[in-house]
């Protein structure tokens, strides 16, 4: 797994992709920080983290689009298939590499909180809650992105698939609002990324929300391993 992790990390930072991702993330985080905290004269970072939900939703596919599809297209998956490494270790290595880049990007929010703390009192426990929420959201979206990338050899299709999934996840709350059957509406709401994320932005540290994101990440990583291993039977 370490070899894959190292290789993917190098691939991100030997090409402009890693830098562009981090730069765009910083750009949005910086803009919302300026708008809500500096101009808004507030140490409450809830609005910033709320806005970063949408940004994360649409930026993660850029990070994950090449992870599996590139190997399939360049046939380097053959190198991985013949190596004495399990499919789980391969997928985990790729997932952790993407997650690390994402972590570097979202670390800017901690820097912003540190800047605020120089001028006023910052509630670090709440900020940490926001941060964990955003990290869990990114983990789940990264897992979904890798899975979509494993289904195609075309990076553009993988990215578009990721954007569509993001858009669908955004609409899920609105869809739930249109459903008259209360049980079904409740079920759709339970699947909503936004609902589970909002609790973090309210400063609520709910175990169910953590379990939800961890489960989604686990499920899609498992599906990715299955999609990868399936190539042995094709």
């Amino acid at each position: 797994m370490n070899a894959i992790l190292k290789r993917e990390m190098n691939a991100y930072f030997d090409s402009p992709l890693g830098y562009v991702f981090i730069a765009v993330y910083y750009l949005f985080a910086g803009y919302f920080f300026l708008l809500y905290n500096l101009y808004g004269n507030s140490t409450d970072m809830r609005a910033l983290f709320e806005m970063m939900f949408t940004v994360t939703l649409f930026l993660i596919p850029v990070l994950t689009m090449r992870l599996m599809s590139e190997d399939k297209k360049a046939r380097t998956d053959q190198l991985l298939l013949m190596a004495p490494v399990s499919g789980t270790a391969i997928v985990a290595g790729k997932f952790l590499a993407a997650l690390f880049v994402y972590l570097v990007a979202m670390a800017i929010t901690l820097v912003q909180a540190a800047v605020l703390s120089q001028f006023a009192l910052v509630e670090w426990s709440v900020v940490l809650g926001h941060f964990i929420g955003l990290f869990l959201l990114g983990s789940a979206l990264t897992a979904i992105g890798i899975f979509i990338s494993a289904l195609t050899e075309n990076q553009v299709i993988a990215a578009i698939g990721g954007f569509c999934t993001g858009f669908f996840l955004m609409l899920l709350d609105s869809v739930a609002g249109m459903i008259t059957n209360t049980r079904l509406a409740g079920f759709v709401t339970d699947l909503s990324f936004q609902t589970h994320y909002k609790n973090f932005t309210y400063g609520l540290f709910n175990v169910a929300d953590i379990v939800f994101y961890v489960s989604v990440a686990g499920l899609f990583l498992f599906l990715t391993v299955c999609a990868f291993e399936k190539r042995r039977f094709e």
């Binding site: 360049a74 380097t76 190596a83 004495p84």
Partner: protein
Amino acid sequence: MIEVSHVSKQYGSKIALADISFSVPGGQVLGLLGLNGAGKSTTMNILTGCLAATEGTVLIDGIDLAKEAKAAKRKIGYMPEIPPLYTDMLAEDFLGFVYELKGLKTGKKDAVGRVCERAGIDHVRKRMIRNLSKGYRQRVGLASAMLGEPKILILDEPTVGLDPTQIIEIRSLIAEIGKERTVILSSHILSEIQAVCERVIVLDQGKIVADDTPQNLENAIQSKDSYIALVEGEPSLVERALRALEHVKEVTRLNEEEPGVYSYRIRGREHVDIRREVFLALAGAGCPLLGTRSAHVTLEDVFLRLVGKKEGTTGRDEA
């Protein structure tokens, strides 16, 4: 060393391999020969664990590949037809990555240095793979397969797309490696198999149609009753005269050697000397026999006969 038992592979309704079995002892250089689509790459992909067999078992050094894939794969170095290379990496970084991927612990720097020297890529190891020529990429692929000095080396069409000098270099490298370990090599280039391999398995439509040494395969169908005759005259007249002979089994017109003079392969019935009969028949038909020589059967003829095509009707080796 390698034991393949009743292995089959189906891609949907297409049968790529149909119940093949063979074993390869340690230290043997085995050639897999076959036309495109004969099942060579599928066999190799199954032997290396890249593909799962629909049925059958593969034992690598006594280890079941399906049950203990990791342990079995550690004994194999594989270079597919198109070497899987990360072209955005330096050659030595890529080999370092493969070293780690294989979980080797013998010392990365030394191991990479050794295979670079062996594969003749020492002077390009600091270059980006995407900037290397096809020949050097092939060598990087070979170097990555050799990393960790696996007991078994599997090479799928290792010389495809290379220029003649590179082909000779790669072949001598394979011959050298073959002195120490088991090598399985696939090719549809017959001269390559003949030059490097001690044993040949001929595959056709997913089945083994022959399994022997190149020499034995040639000897098996080398007929002592077969001749090449140079005859002047109308081909139809010549063929009619020859086919009318009791002991002549087969007549094949080959080439027009001179204006009006054609060469024919004449095959007689077993253990019958047909030369006199042929001479008299041609004299009777008014077609002078200008010369005869024994028909040497090449591995190409053997191969074409085994896969069901008429010998002498296609071009020579692609090399």
